[in-house]
Structures are given as C-alpha cells and as structure tokens.
C-alpha cells in the first residue's frame, strides 16, 4: 500500500514538473545526448523566446 502511494506521488511529482516546465531541460538533455547539448541557461532563454515571440497567442481570455 505504502509503495503504491509512493509510486503515485512520484508520478504526480513527475507530471507536475513536466507541466510547469521544470523538467523541460532534463527531457531535452535526455533526447539530444551530451554532444550537441546547449547549457541549461541557454535552453531556458531559447524556450522563452520560442514561447513568447512566436506571434501566436498563448494565453486566452
């Protein structure tokens, strides 16, 4: 029972990190490998640029 609860909490935490964007760099790093990886800071700034400078609304009324 405790193990199940712990597993559910871990899943919830993972989903929360993914939803908030906290895990974005980890996901990216896992995908591209060490070779061409940009720094965490550069990745963060680039993700903001893509999100807010696309000319597409990303927040509704």
């Amino acid at each position: 029972m405790t193990a199940r609860v712990r597993s559910a909490l871990r899943t919830l935490w993972r989903l929360l990190r993914e939803w908030s964007g906290d895990a974005a760099y980890d996901t990216y790093a896992a995908r591209v490998g060490k070779g061409e990886r940009v720094s965490r800071e550069a990745f963060y700034l680039d993700s903001l640029r893509r999100r807010y400078q696309s000319g597409q609304p990303n927040r509704c009324c």
Partner: protein, 688 residues
C-alpha cells in the same frame, strides 16, 4: 454483464445530472443550494464527454491512433515534443482559462442564475468543446498550423487575411476590457493596489532567480514567488491602515488606467525572462490551485443561492449592462461556453505536444468542459451573494447613485432589499472604503469567493485577506494576459505593417518594436481610458463589444471547420459545426445590430451619442462637463464603427465560405486539402 453494469452506471449519472439541472430550473419559492449546480454540470459533462465527444472522435473526425502526430514526426525536443496527455491537458487548460469564465458569468448573473448556467453547460457541450476539439484535430493533421494559416489554405487567401484582422481586433478589445476590470477592482483600494504593485518586483525577483541563479528551475522560483505574494496580500492590510502609505496607493480610475497603460508598454518591451515569463508561471500555479480550492470550497460550504432563477432584468433594463437575454446573455458569457480565442490556442502550442491523435479528445473537448465548470463555479459564487449586494457592487453610480443610501433606495425599489448598513459593514469586513459601483465583475466575484473560502478556513476574521487574495488572483492573470497579449499584438502589427513598410517587419529593430508597441498599447489604452471615463461604467459598452468580437472569431473557426468537413466528404456530419456556427452568427449579428442601432441609449451606441448631443444642445449639461460629454459622444460613435466593422468581417467571411461550399456541394471542385501525409506511428503497439 460488465456492459450492463456500465450502461446502468451511465444511466444513473444521466438521471442525477438531469435531476440536479431540473431542480435548479424548476424549483421556485425556496432557495437552491450551490451543490446542485456543481452536480448538474459535472454529470452533464461526464455524459457529454463519454458519448458526444466519442461520437465526434469516431464518426465525425475518425481519429486515427496509428497515425503519427507532428510531435512524433517533427520531434525536435523544443517546439515539437511528445508529451504525456495529462500534462498537455494541464498546459491547454492553463492557456485557455483566463478572466473570461470568471467575469462573464458574474456579469450575466443579473438575468438570474438560470440563463447563464444553462448556456454555460449547453454551450460548452455542443459548441465550445466541439470548436476546440475539431480545430485542435485539424491543426494536428496540418503540422500544428495556426487558425489563420488553415483558413488561408482551406477556405482562401481572403479568409486568412480576415482571420488575421479579426484576431488583431479581438486582441485590442480584449486587452482594453480586461484592463478595465483591473482598474475598476483596484481604484480607491490601497490594499489591492499595493498587493498588485508588489507582484511586479516579486515577478522580477523570480525572473532573476530563473535566469541567473537557478536557470529554468520553475517550481523553486514559483514556490518562492507564491510565499512572497501571500506576504504581500497580508502586508496590504497594514498599508491600507497606514496614514502615510495608504494615500500613495489610493488611486483614481484615470490614474490607475494611466499606470496600467504605462506598465503595458514597458512590459511588452522588457525581456520576457524578467517579467512576463515568471508572472506567467506564477499565475498558472495560482490559477489551477484556486480553481481546485473553489470547487472544494463550494462542496464544503454548500452555499445557498440567493439570486432568483430569473430577474426582472431579462427585459433588457439591467443595471450591470443593458440588453435582453437574447442575444446579450450569449455574448456576455463567451469563455466558459464557447470562445473563439480558444481556437488560437488549439492551433498554437497544443497540437505540437500531443503524442497520439486520440489524445485530442481529452485535451480539446475535455479542457473546454473544465473551463465551463470554472464558469459555473463563478456563477455560484456571484449568485450566493444577496442580490441587493450583487447589484450595489456591479451597478454604475450613474444608475444606482454614488452613496450607500441612494443605492439602497434604488435597488430596494427593484425588489431586492438592501440596507445601506449592510454595504458599509461588508466594505469594512473586507478592508475596503467602499464596494459600491465596482463594475466589472471582479469585486463581486471576489466577495463571493471570499465568503466561500472564509466559510472553509478562518471564518469572518479572514474575510478581508480572502477578498484581497481573490482580487490578487484575478488581477495577476489579467496582467499576464495584458503582457502576453500586447506582445503578440505587437508582432501582428509588425507583420501587417511589414507588408507595406518592410522595415517594420524587423522584430529585432528597436524603432520598429517601440513603434508597434506604441500602436498596440495606444489602441487598447484608448478603449480602456474611454471605459474609465464612461458615465455608465465602461463595462456596459466594452464587455458586449469584447463578447461580439470573441464570438465572431468562434464563428470564423467553425466556418473553417465546416469547410474542411465538406471538403473531406463528411457532409452528413457537417451539422456538428454548422449548427453552433449558425447560432453564433445569429447571436453576433443581432447583438451587433442592437449595439449600433437600438433606440434605447443604454443599448445603442448611436442612440446614446444622439441623446448626449441633445442634452448639450438643450443646455442640460453643465459648462464644465461639455468637453467630457463630447468625448463620450465621439467614443460612442467610434464603438458603433468598430461593432459595424466586426459584423462586416463575419459577413464577408460567410460570403467567401458560402461560395466555397457551393462549389464543393455542386461538384465543381473542393480545392486541395492541406493535410500532411499519413505516417504510421512507432508507438502503436505500446506507450512511449
């Protein structure tokens, strides 16, 4: 056996839902409990999701789980990222749910609780959910292309251009009206103004944290920001009580409007990492948290609904805004029932994240039902107030008077008893000087939410804290919409002007950026300022204008969806988009016509302009007020022109689409379909 049990369970859900909705629709004479709203809405959503969205997915759209999505085919770890469907649902919901589903139902409560609640539930199930789902699906099949691009590819170049113009128009009006909601909520409120002002340095601190100290650590920064925001809410009470600091944060409507305009300009020009992004993260967390807390609070407190099912204002004489139920209830509540703006989000980031086509049902249809549920909760919070208190807060001084005594006399005369002492006591208990004439919906919603929250934690003692927490919650994400919307509007202006002056299209150029920012801020700032000066409170003019613009965008999205259904030979299912589209076109054109030409000066812009001109000509306007009155006359005529322009936009689009539909149905060629070719998903056998 399982099938039988499942059928019985769904029948039970349907009966419980029908029973709850039947109770709120038919019960008269004794108060209804707010839980009936929650149960009725939730059961309807469950049945609609289980059956109607399944029908849309299987029969109308034929979702194909074996087809690779853009996130899989174009996976770059940045824009296109296969993401867990619950995470995408959270992203999409946080993006579509803004102030609209909170403010619209609060304003529409003046008709009574019934019309707005039924429209919220039916509109979302049959209109909003369908629009969001089909546009998300069509964008998914087109590499995540935007609504404007899909309109251009599938209907024609003119449709694409009309889509762009209408998006820009809605953006300007949206930003003006949400800014007006903030101004009306914070004027003469040092506690609220201080709390909101503090969100700026808090967001900047978070921005610095995520930029330099712990790059990209969103959750750490948001936790710090949340604690600081709570401290700011508590500290606001000390500021309001301080004889030195209270005057600094006690601002008039025009002063606050100027501050918001200056802020909007500055925020659109500073780097996103410093202000916009951290505020966005914080507001997303608080938004989701408060919505969940409100749902739990309603179930825990089980508030009694004080507002009648229908009020006398169904005849169009309402003090909050003028106009009859049809069309104005359906324009006032856009977000929460059907909102064209959602089509922009459904064809934006979301389709680039979906792992499977089948996830579009949960994300597109499901998140719209969640937003509708937020609207129903806002309706409960507003209708749980004494109707007299509700009307005293939401009615402009020009209608109910500027003192508690005048308001009590007027509102009691309408059949909603109100004691002036009640208003004084309520204002004192939430730490405000007055709650009278706080048009815009946010303060009355905050009072309703504060009652629900204080009924759960803290009791009357914490009413002031909860009220200002609710105001901060609303204002925080309104400012996020303002920041983000101004920035997007700036890019659109640069793109439009760049067609004529190529140098304007350079987004990296400071001259171009400042000019475009100035144009977009000037446009919404003008409408905001006219709303602040409006003797009828501004909301009466601007909110219907916003509703019309938003529903016109929804009509456009449904026109595009109908065209694609026809082009792909799904003619027998075309009613799923055609019927909501026909309804919206009828509503928006009727609303536009009435807002321009209605003979009642409180409804028709031209009638109000003529009435005011007549007052000047008759010498009934004091000398000192003539210049202001002439400005109101001009603004009314400008509003009439804008409304007429929006109506012409949708008529032009309908004409364009109708010709296209005729060609398809007459077999004269459907035109090419811009769908991406089929690629089999690698995840068809197991999960990623």
């Amino acid at each position: 056996m399982n099938r039988l049990l499942s059928s019985l369970a769904w029948l039970a859900v349907a009966f419980v839902g029908a029973g709850a909705l039947g109770a709120i629709a038919l019960w008269r004479g004794e108060p209804v409990n707010g839980v009936f709203f929650v149960v009725g809405a939730a059961c309807t959503y469950l049945v609609a999701y289980r059956f109607y969205s399944a029908f849309l997915a299987a029969r109308v759209l034929s979702l194909d789980a074996t087809r690779a999505t853009p996130a899989e085919r174009l996976d770059d770890g940045r824009d296109f990222v296969p993401t867990n469907r619950w995470v995408v649902l959270g992203h999409h919901f946080a993006a579509i749910a803004g102030p609209g589903p909170l403010v619209g139902p609060t304003l529409a409560a003046q008709f009574g609780y019934l019309p707005g609640t039924l429209w919220l539930v039916a509109g979302a199930v049959l209109g909003g959910g369908v629009q969001d789902f089909v546009i998300l699906f069509f964008s998914l099949r087109r590499d995540g292309r935007s609504l404007g691009q899909i309109a251009r590819d599938e209907v024609g170049r003119r449709a694409g251009f009309l889509a762009m113009i209408s998006v820009l128009a809605i953006m300007v009006i949206l930003l003006a009206v949400v800014a007006l909601v903030v101004v009306n909520a914070l004027k003469h409120s040092p506690w609220g103004a201080f709390t909101l002002a503090m969100t700026i340095p808090i967001a900047m601190l978070m921005g610095l944290y995520m930029r330099f100290w712990r790059p990209g650590r969103v959750m750490e920064a948001s936790a710090i920001g949340f604690v600081l925001i709570l401290l700011a809410v508590v500290a606001g009470q000390w500021v309001a009580l301080s004889p030195d600091w209270a005057p600094v944060f006690t601002l008039t409507g025009p002063a606050l409007a100027t501050a918001v305009i200056v802020y909007g300009f500055a925020a659109s020009a500073v780097p996103v990492w410093l202000l916009l992004a951290p505020r966005d993260y914080l507001s997303a967390f608080i938004k989701v948290g408060v919505v969940l807390a409100l749902a739990a609070g309603i179930v825990f407190v089980r508030p009694t609904i004080q507002m009648p099912a229908l009020t006398r204002f169904v005849d169009g004489s309402g003090p909050v805004f003028a106009g009859t139920i049809f069309p104005f209830c359906f324009i006032t509540i856009a977000c929460g029932a059907i909102s064209g703006f959602h089509a922009l989000i459904s064809s934006g980031t979301t389709p680039k994240l979906l792992t499977r086509e089948s996830d579009a049902r949960l994300v597109g249809y499901g998140s719209m039902l969640m937003e509708s549920f937020v609207g129903v909760m806002a309706m409960v919070a507003a209708c749980a107030l004494e109707p007299g208190v509700y009307f005293a807060i939401n009615s402009p001084a020009g209608i109910v008077g500027a003192t508690a005594e005048q308001a009590a006399t007027t509102i009691s005369g309408w059949g909603f008893p109100l004691d002036p002492a009640t208003m004084h006591q309520l204002a004192r208990s939430v730490g405000e000087e007055t709650l009278l004439n706080r048009t815009g919906g946010a303060p009355s919603l905050a009072v309703g939410m504060a009652h629900i929250f204080s009924g759960t934690i803290g009791g009357e003692r914490l009413l002031g804290i909860w009220y200002h927490f609710a105001i901060m919650f609303e204002a925080l994400f309104i400012l996020t919409v303002l920041d983000a919307g101004t920035r997007v509007g700036r890019f659109m202006v640069q793109e439009l002007l760049g067609r004529v002056f190529p140098r304007m299209a350079r987004t990296g150029s400071w001259t171009s950026t400042l000019l475009a920012s100035g144009l977009i801020v000037g446009a919404w700032g003008y409408f905001l300022y006219q709303g602040v000066l409006d003797p009828l409170g501004g909301i009466n003019s601007l909110w219907p204008l916003f509703g019309i613009a938003n529903q016109i965008l929804a009509s456009l999205a449904l026109v595009v969806a109908t065209t694609i259904l026809l082009k792909t030979g799904r003619t027998r299912y075309v009613w799923v988009t055609l019927l909501p589209m026909a309804w919206l076109v009828t509503v928006t054109l009727t609303g536009s016509w009435q807002k321009v030409f209605h003979e009642n000066p409180r409804i028709g812009f031209l009638a109000q302009a003529s009435a005011l001109e007549q007052q000047i000509a008759d010498g009934r306007v004091p000398e000192a007020k003539i210049a202001d009155t002439r400005r109101v006359v001009f603004n009314n005529r400008l509003d009439a022109v804008v409304t007429g322009f929006l109506a012409l936009l949708i008529l032009a689009l309908l004409l364009e689409a109708a010709l296209h539909w005729y060609r398809i149905l007459a077999g004269r060629g459907a035109g090419a379909l811009s769908e991406s070719p089929y690629v089999r998903t690698k995840w068809v056998e197991g999960s990623p």
